[in-house]
């Protein structure tokens, strides 16, 4: 008989399940302004602490404090707030449109609006994002026509992607938005490759890769970090840690590591963890990383700490796996409220102006929706022609596809 104790498998569990009272009081939230701001040519090993803390700019009183503050003008901050309001209004409309049967699927960014909206302002025209499915803020904070996004969601006759892609899988080279795959993590290494090409050509453009907390477990995440590290690619690698990968809490992908950001340190990649619900902090950290990449100092890994307030998608019901109250208990607050309070604190905004701005944006979104619906919706059509289904598989249609199109009689 062996006297060895039998092994047992450890399976991590989130702290709270439906029915539990969520309490995040033991989650350490560092003070705004406390994190130092390094030079952009810093070595990863010299800023290890930034991979474990949370860089924050706005304090509880709505003031912007510390070395990462004071980068944006009043007007730029107002624009940022309006961008986030636009994402929220757009999401609400499209979520409703899906419920009304006008499309098959939708994904909101509720609670995460600050990340894509602020990051977008840190880049320059010509830079390229390799987004996941929750970065609509990248497009909604540029001049990309909202109505084209809706046309895509409806797969209608004016869909720029000809009805070929699942709703919200936009593509716009002109607006620095790489075609969304729908497969996870594949784009993370592609962004590194794009950045390598920019460096090979002696260009000045940089790339930004995006990934969620859950997908960091994919091997492509590792591939991306290896290539970015080896070739010092001019790329900003964004992890959006919104705590939930559908029903799987972030601890399943994170394992024993203290943070997702810390994964960068083993690759010698500077890693920063930022309050993803703090527009000013996201902007400042993104700007730092973008400048670092453009100056030829190589990649940066950013973990944006946030919370997915909405369901994963319209096909998901989070009440089955997490307490309903969890998002309210989440200690980093609401990004829109926080930036609004900051603008009020600056003396350049008011509750009345906020209501007015929100209503204006809601009208803008509603009008875009009307225009889009003139081009059709998923179930009622019209759509692109069925014959177009055979086009663009290749640059020139090969014989076997020509024959299949003929058989299809379209």
């Amino acid at each position: 008989m062996s006297d060895l104790k039998p092994l047992s498998l450890y399976v991590p569990e989130p702290e709270f399940r439906p029915g539990d009272k969520p309490d995040f009081s033991d989650v350490p939230i560092p003070q705004a302004g406390a994190a130092p701001k390094p030079e952009i040519d810093v070595e990863a090993g010299d800023i290890r602490d930034l991979a474990y803390t949370i860089i924050r700019v706005m304090n509880r009183d709505g003031e912007a404090v510390g070395p990462w503050a004071d980068l944006l003008s009043d007007d730029q901050i107002k624009e940022g707030l309006e961008d986030m309001l636009r994402v929220r209004a757009f999401d609400a409309r499209m979520q409703m449109a899906q419920r009304q049967g006008k499309t098959s699927f939708y994904m909101q960014a509720l609670g995460e609006e600050a990340i894509a909206c602020a990051f977008s302002k840190a880049t320059e025209p010509g830079d390229m994002n390799f987004p996941t499915y929750r970065q609509q803020g990248l497009l909604l904070s540029t001049d990309y026509p909202m109505v084209d996004m809706m046309n895509q969601i409806y797969s209608n006759a004016a869909d720029p992607l000809m009805g070929r892609q699942l709703p919200i899988m936009y593509s716009s080279k002109e607006n620095g938005f790489f075609t969304i795959s729908g497969n996870l993590a594949t784009q993370f290494i592609q962004g590194v490759g794009w950045a390598m090409a920019s460096a090979i050509k002696g260009d000045t453009k940089i790339a930004a890769s995006w990934i969620g907390d859950g997908s960091t477990a994919e091997s492509d995440f590792h591939s991306a970090l290896v290539f970015a590290s080896t070739y010092r690619a001019p790329v900003v690698m964004n992890i959006v840690n919104n705590q939930w990968a559908i029903s799987t809490y972030q601890g399943i992908a994170r394992g024993k590591a203290a943070t997702f950001a810390s994964r960068g340190l083993g690759f010698g990649i500077p890693a920063l963890r930022v309050d993803g619900n703090d527009y000013l902090a996201v902007y400042a950290v993104s700007k730092w990383a973008v400048e670092r990449a453009r100056a030829g100092h190589g990649p940066t890994l950013i973990e944006h700490v946030t919370y997915r307030v909405g369901a994963h998608s319209t096909s998901d019901d989070p009440s089955a796996y997490r307490p309903k109250e969890e998002s309210d208990a989440w200690p980093l607050g609401d990004p829109v409220e926080r930036l609004k309070n900051h603008l009020i604190k600056r003396g350049v905004w008011s509750e009345a102006q906020h209501v007015q701005a929100r209503e204006m944006i809601e009208t803008e979104v509603a009008e875009a929706q009307k225009l889009a619906e003139k081009n059709g919706t998923l179930h009622d059509g019209p759509h692109s022609t069925p014959a177009s289904m055979f086009e663009d598989v290749y640059k020139e249609m090969p014989l076997h596809l020509r024959r299949q199109r003929q058989e299809a009689g379209v």
């Binding site: 594949t186 590194v192 490759g193 794009w194 492509d220 591939s223 663009d392 598989v393 290749y394």
Partner: protein, 338 residues
């Protein structure tokens, strides 16, 4: 014109392509300073610099994924996977990404990328250096799959692949690198210097993708083959005396269906030969195409001669390999049928 091995021809193709277009970059495992384990990229780093030809980490999803990003940027990566057997970690990037980016973005982004890989057996490489995964690529819409059988085609088709605006899987039959192997492993190797298709122009030229070549004209039976099996088929035809028409497919997708169909309509018989495993191998597709288009012209059931549905066995390489004896038996059998 120079006498070249297939390795030299492939190197010459990349050299010409890199010289003509500084958007062409080459990378992969061991391809930089050393020039690749089969030496296909030898001298390219020295000539074009480390930013045009460089070593990559051992990470196939990274190699293909980075190449996709580069191609989306607007340059033309031509990457090497050290053995086709190692492509699988990069397969998701090929099957889910490279193949669909043009389609899903409605031409907003494209992937003019070539993934080169040595394929097939015959060098005692065992199960991890002998596989023929072409059917796994042919099953994917949106990529092209090329398998040249000689130095002339290898160079012309590699340049055509690099200049192509769609992703191309370029499979190089490694047993053909140094000579046209006829399947008789116990006989001396014929070098490419003794074969007319070893005559290769040193300058730029292309051989179009999607066009088969008739290697031997014949009246009695059509043999569909590609890569190493083209020479095995030639040997089998010679040894049996069957007047076979041998079609070297060269590109398996897009497939030159018209050449295949015209030949089978003429001969009324068809034997399909490949080294890859049988079940769902590309031969299954070829057989279906011939049945759909030529059934009323057939005088005998179509026969497939392929690798067996086992892993590639090290010690039993020559029992596994579909050599001239097995192909010859198939030719006799297809001729015996009424």
């Amino acid at each position: 014109m120079a006498r070249m091995t297939m390795i030299q021809a492939i190197r010459s193709a990349m050299d010409n392509a890199m010289e003509r277009d500084d958007n062409v970059v080459v990378f992969g495992e061991d391809v930089g300073f050393f020039g690749g384990v089969f030496r296909c990229t030898q001298g390219l780093q020295q000539k074009y610099g480390p930013h045009r030809c460089f070593d990559s980490p051992i990470n196939e999803s990274g190699i293909v994924g980075a190449a996709i990003g580069m191609a989306a940027y607007g340059i033309r990566p031509c990457v090497e996977i050290q053995f086709a057997d190692y492509v699988y970690p990069g397969y998701d990037q090929i099957a889910s990404e490279a193949s669909r980016i043009r389609y899903r973005s409605n031409n907003d982004f494209t992937v003019p990328m070539v993934v080169r890989m040595p394929t097939g057996g015959g060098i005692f490489g065992g199960q991890t250096h002998s596989q023929s995964p072409e059917a796994l690529f042919a099953h994917i819409s949106g990529i092209k799959t090329v398998i040249p059988s000689n130095p002339y085609d290898a160079k012309g088709m590699l340049i055509a692949s690099i200049e192509d605006d769609d992703p191309v899987m370029f499979l190089e039959p490694k047993r053909l690198y140094n000579g046209p192997f006829d399947g008789h492993h116990d006989r001396p190797v014929t070098p490419w210097s003794k074969h007319e298709l070893g005559d290769v122009p040193e300058d730029h030229y292309t051989v179009p993708l999607g066009k088969a070549a008739i290697r031997r004209e014949g009246e009695e039976v059509t043999i569909l083959a590609y890569g190493t099996m083209v020479y095995v088929a030639e040997t089998a035809a010679k040894e049996t005396g069957v007047d076979a028409e041998i079609i070297d497919l060269r590109t398996i997708l897009p497939l030159d269906m018209e050449t295949i169909e015209a030949s089978v309509r003429k001969t009324g018989r068809c034997v399909i030969v490949h080294e890859a495993t049988k079940t769902c191998g590309f031969g299954a597709e070829l057989m279906s195409i011939v049945m759909e288009a030529c059934f009323y012209h057939l005088e005998a059931p179509i026969i497939r001669v392929t690798g067996y549905d086992t892993p590639y066995p090290h010690a039993h390489e020559w029992d596994y390999f579909p050599g001239p004896k097995r192909v010859g038996d198939a030719l006799k059998k297809v001729m015996e049928a009424a």
